[in-house]
């Protein structure tokens, strides 16, 4: 805990990352890879002499797509890193030390991707007449770089789930080429194509300008891509989820539904099935060139596809369990080895927390409790209010109960890290949480009887 501990008020840390990461995944997969691949395919069809409307469609889609990718996609991507770096510097710093080279090479691919994209963007109108073959080559060059970038980063993401033999062998190869690497790459690419074809169909159904036959051919092509991409995504998702630790995967319904929906066992599988069927229906409607039906289906299909992306990312984050780096660091940035040592020695943890600040007028005990809370629980739990507030979670529990529960978090919720600190600090933490959960009773003036407080 060498670095300042940050807790985003209200939203909480996890939700803050999600708000940035989910749009990034939708854009980086669905637009930067999915939509642009299909645009390049259109341009290739035009080059192959399959009709001038393919070129026109590609050109019309290029501008908005480039704006979205460069303005929102790229910034939210760097944003994930900026946010996680501020929220979990020990975790991000460790990952970067371990994976410097893949990250650095990925940066090269990312730069190449952007250069290809800018080359397309600035030279399209010139090349389309004088050197259409080069234009197509630039397009596929972009797609190649985009895929390379997705492949390179997947090793790091996969490591955070399935570190393979890394915790024992401590070798880079074990960490990077881990069991979920390949299925995750395929899943992300196929998911991106699914999203991309959805976007293209939606655009073609609503905004296409030209003959109805031309619109029909665009719809048919996108509608043909979607079921295939979905099938590949489904198969790779199955392989992917069969390789993640089942310890945490069995909790997926709680992960997605939270305690609010965890008691409705069939709700989430049903919602997922409806979502997939709707997206598939949209693809079939497009394949059979039903523009009017596509216009109706596109809104729920796109909303559901975003929800599926969010759900997948949520589950992926959740099945990491209580670890930030499995076998090395807990989600609260405490090293596994640090916790093991503390357990044996009952060593106090507060001296390791460098940045402790309390509110003015707060007792020393509360300040200490607050710091212990921030270090142990703050990564996932808000304090008095906000997302996953500990005041709600501990409501109704007496202080002795809170103290007992702190000692068994790992068993009670296997996705929670254990408490790190001495016995005395555990009491301070219990006291702090108890006071958060049992704020001062509202004081009523004697004269104000009968009025609402």
């Amino acid at each position: 805990m060498m670095f300042p501990l940050l807790q985003i008020p209200g939203l909480g840390n996890g939700m803050t990352i999600a708000l940035d990461a989910v749009p990034h995944v939708v854009i980086s997969h669905g637009v930067a890879i999915g939509t642009i691949s299909i645009i390049v395919l259109f341009q290739t069809l035009a080059y192959a002499g399959k009709g001038e409307h393919w070129a026109r469609t590609a050109r019309t889609l290029l501008n908005p797509v480039v704006v979205v990718v460069t303005s929102i996609g790229a910034i939210t991507g760097v944003g994930i890193w900026v946010i996680t770096g501020a929220l979990a510097p020990e975790g991000i710093g460790s990952l970067i030390h371990l994976f410097f080279w893949p990250w650095f090479i990925e940066w090269g691919a990312f730069t190449g991707e952007v250069i290809f994209l800018l080359a397309l963007y600035y030279n399209w109108d010139k090349l389309v007449t004088i050197r259409p073959g080069l234009l197509v080559a630039l397009g596929w060059g972009y797609v190649g770089m985009g895929v390379a970038s997705a492949v390179l980063i997947s090793g790091v993401l996969g490591f955070m789930l399935t570190p393979g033999g890394w915790p024992w062998a401590k070798s880079f190869a074990e960490a990077y080429f881990n069991p979920t690497f390949v299925p995750q790459v395929v899943l992300r690419l196929a998911g991106g194509l699914t999203l991309g074809s959805l976007f293209i169909m939606t655009w073609a159904a609503w905004r296409f300008k030209g003959w109805e036959e031309e619109r029909g051919s665009v719809l048919r092509l996108a509608g043909g891509i979607l079921p295939v991409a979905m099938l590949v995504a489904a198969i790779s998702a199955y392989i992917y989820f069969s390789r993640v630790p089942q310890t945490y995967l069995t909790h997926w319904k709680f992960a997605v539904g939270t305690s609010a929906l965890s008691q409705a066992p069939h709700l989430l599988p049903l919602a997922n099935a409806v979502a997939c069927l709707l997206i598939l229906a949209m693809g079939l409607a497009a394949f059979f060139r039903r523009a009017a039906l596509c216009r109706v289906l596109c809104i729920p299909a796109i909303l559901f596809s975003f929800a599926l992306v969010a759900e997948f990312e949520r589950v992926r984050e959740f099945v990491r369990g209580p670890y930030l780096l499995p076998g090395y660091m807990y989600a609260n940035q405490v090293l596994l080895i640090e916790h093991a040592a503390g357990e044996r020695t009952d060593a106090p943890f507060l001296p390791n927390i460098r940045w402790v600040s309390g509110k003015v007028g707060q007792t020393a005990e509360m300040t200490a409790g607050q710091a212990i809370f921030a270090a142990n629980c703050g990564m996932c739990h808000s304090g008095a209010k906000g997302v996953n507030a500990i005041s709600t979670r501990a409501a109704g529990r007496p202080i002795d109960g809170i103290n007992a529960i702190i000692g068994m978090t790992q068993g009670l919720g296997p996705f929670m890290p254990p408490f790190t600190g001495s016995e005395q600090e555990r009491l301070l933490l219990a006291d702090y949480i108890y006071k958060l959960a049992n704020g001062d009773a509202p004081h009523r003036e004697p004269g104000a009887k009968g009025k609402k407080p």
Partner: protein, 521 residues
């Protein structure tokens, strides 16, 4: 091997290589940063100027998208290298500056989107909207370097961290002055390089802008010198000779540039003086090199100290490696897909392996954990307790398990403890039944209700008493509770009552649970 105990101590490259990589990648990033901010700022200033002078607003914002995208992409590499080369100063500074640092993301996105919207409005000739978009996006874009210079200023001043940590944005005078000058210096450099970029790439009808851009370039160089001198004084104590030489070189190049650009100098109509192409890179490299030297001098000692502390800690922790990995393996092998695992992991700590309420954590509890093996109750009632917990006791809610998991647990409780079996029959009459009923009505019913349901008063208690219409205990356990009370609750010991009466009361407590429900269990 000890390097892996703390990953911060593992370097992917020797320090000199990292320094060289950082210098090059940061230079590329800064180049595009200056060009993006500079061309945007000048573009907006010209836009406002033209509008108020009734001139046709014709500018080319087309380069903006390319510049800013490269700026973002090229920012990734230095960020990566900084986080390896001096993570301690960097993460501390961004942590202390966190909200400003995080605000960068929406700021940049909105600014970029507005600039794209601006191109759209321009094409459609919404001049007022163009102006509004332009001013807002330029203003947002101008805050970005303020955050970056703020973070770097803080990063290089370890002595300011505790103050900053304790009082947030409260910055002392010296730090604020340096920050302000540094920010202005970046904005000045943006104008300088932005104007130079537009000059070098101005073509066609934009040639009319050349005199205006020349003036801006001249003014910007002059401003940089004026801002640079006090800025140099704010870092005087950290300078060394090497750095001084480099700054002098850059300053000399700036002077030469001033001379070339001086108003009234001979200026070829179409071409740009070749000197610019030599002097501008020279100034850029010299200024960045001196910046890097200053930063290294301030930050590297912090880093070395931190890494040393980490290495010491890693050595001390090393003996616990096996133990940590052992518990990690065990954890991965524990899958909550059966009732027994759930019970052992989540319940046994308090309720004990045999359901006797004697788990290791139970000793901490004021209200003892219930003896689960003694419970005879309705399944739905127990499910309700699992779902909502028992307020006033340590029994938490278990909605963090989905319904299927709770059903597995309930199945296991049923198989192991017979928890949902029929309530034991009241058995033989021990004493005077009528007397027991009187005592129940007079005393027990206060909380437990006349019909075994919880009375209104009982509902106000934390914990509330159990609902005997759906919950009962084995006669032995019920007898224990009546005799000894339930510690930590208002259930007091009734040792003083005759034993037969207590037995009858225990029988009564068991008699409320509906018999047909008992059969269905």
């Amino acid at each position: 091997m000890s390097g892996w105990t703390d990953l911060f101590t593992v370097l992917p490259l020797p320090e000199n290589w990292l320094r060289a990589l950082l210098f090059v990648s940061f230079g590329l990033h800064m180049l595009f940063a200056l060009l993006t901010v500079g061309t945007t700022l000048l573009g907006m200033l010209f836009l406002v100027y033209d509008r108020f002078h009734g001139l046709p607003a014709e500018r080319d914002m087309r380069s903006h998208l390319g510049l800013r995208t490269l700026l973002v992409v090229l920012g990734v590499a230095p960020l990566l290298i900084i986080q390896v080369r001096y993570p301690h100063a960097f993460f501390t500074a961004t942590g202390l500056f966190a909200y400003g640092w995080l605000a960068l993301i929406p700021l940049i996105i909105i600014s970029f989107l507005l600039l794209d919207g601006l191109r759209h409005t321009e094409r459609n000739h919404h001049s007022r909207l163009t102006l509004t978009y332009g001013i807002i996006s330029a203003a947002l874009l101008l805050t970005v370097p303020a955050v970056f210079t703020g973070v770097l200023t803080l990063m290089e001043r370890q002595e300011a961290w505790p103050v900053f940590g304790a009082s947030g944005f409260g910055v002392n005078g010296a730090l604020a002055l340096h920050w302000l000058l540094r920010y202005l210096h970046v904005i000045g450099a943006s104008c300088l390089f932005g104007a130079a970029f537009l000059l070098l790439f101005a073509k066609g009808e934009e040639q009319g802008k050349v005199p205006r851009l020349r003036n801006w370039l001249f003014g910007a160089v002059l401003a940089q010198i004026v801002i640079g001198i006090p800025l140099l004084f704010t870092v005087a104590k950290d300078m060394n000779w090497a750095m001084l030489w480099v700054v002098t070189l850059g300053a000399a190049a700036a002077m030469a540039l001033l001379w070339i650009m001086r108003p009234g100098a001979a200026w070829p109509d179409a071409a740009v003086p070749r000197g610019l192409l030599v002097l501008l890179p020279l100034i850029f490299v010299a200024m960045l090199a001196s910046r890097q030297m200053l930063q290294d001098r301030a930050v590297m000692p912090v880093e070395e100290q931190a890494v040393l502390a980490r290495k010491e800690r890693a050595a001390a922790l090393q003996p616990y490696q096996q133990q940590a990995l052992q518990s990690f393996s065990e954890k991965l092998a524990t899958v909550y897909d059966n009732g027994e695992t759930i019970y052992v992991q989540a319940c046994a700590a308090c309720h004990g392996g045999g359901g006797q309420g004697d788990g290791p954590a139970a000793v901490r509890l004021m209200v003892p954990a219930e003896e689960l093996s003694a419970i005879r109750a309705d399944r739905e009632y127990i499910y309700g307790i699992l779902k909502d917990g028992t307020p006033g006791t340590a029994m938490p809610y278990f909605r963090h398990y989905d319904r299927e998991k709770l059903d597995l647990l309930l199945d296991w409780l049923s198989e192991t403890f017979g928890m949902f079996d029929a309530s034991p029959a009241a058995g033989d009459k021990h004493g005077d039944r009528a007397q027991a009923a009187t005592v129940w009505a007079a005393t027990c019913a206060t909380c437990h209700g006349a019909d075994g349901g919880i009375s209104d008063f009982g509902r106000t208690l934390r914990p509330s008493p159990p609902d005997f219409r759906r919950f009962s205990l084995t006669p032995e356990r019920a007898m224990d509770v009546i005799t000894a009370g339930y510690p930590g609750t208002v259930m007091q010991p009734f040792r003083a009552l005759p034993e037969n009466l207590r037995r009858d009361l225990a029988g009564m407590a068991n008699s409320f649970r509906s018999p047909d429900k008992k059969k269905t269990q």
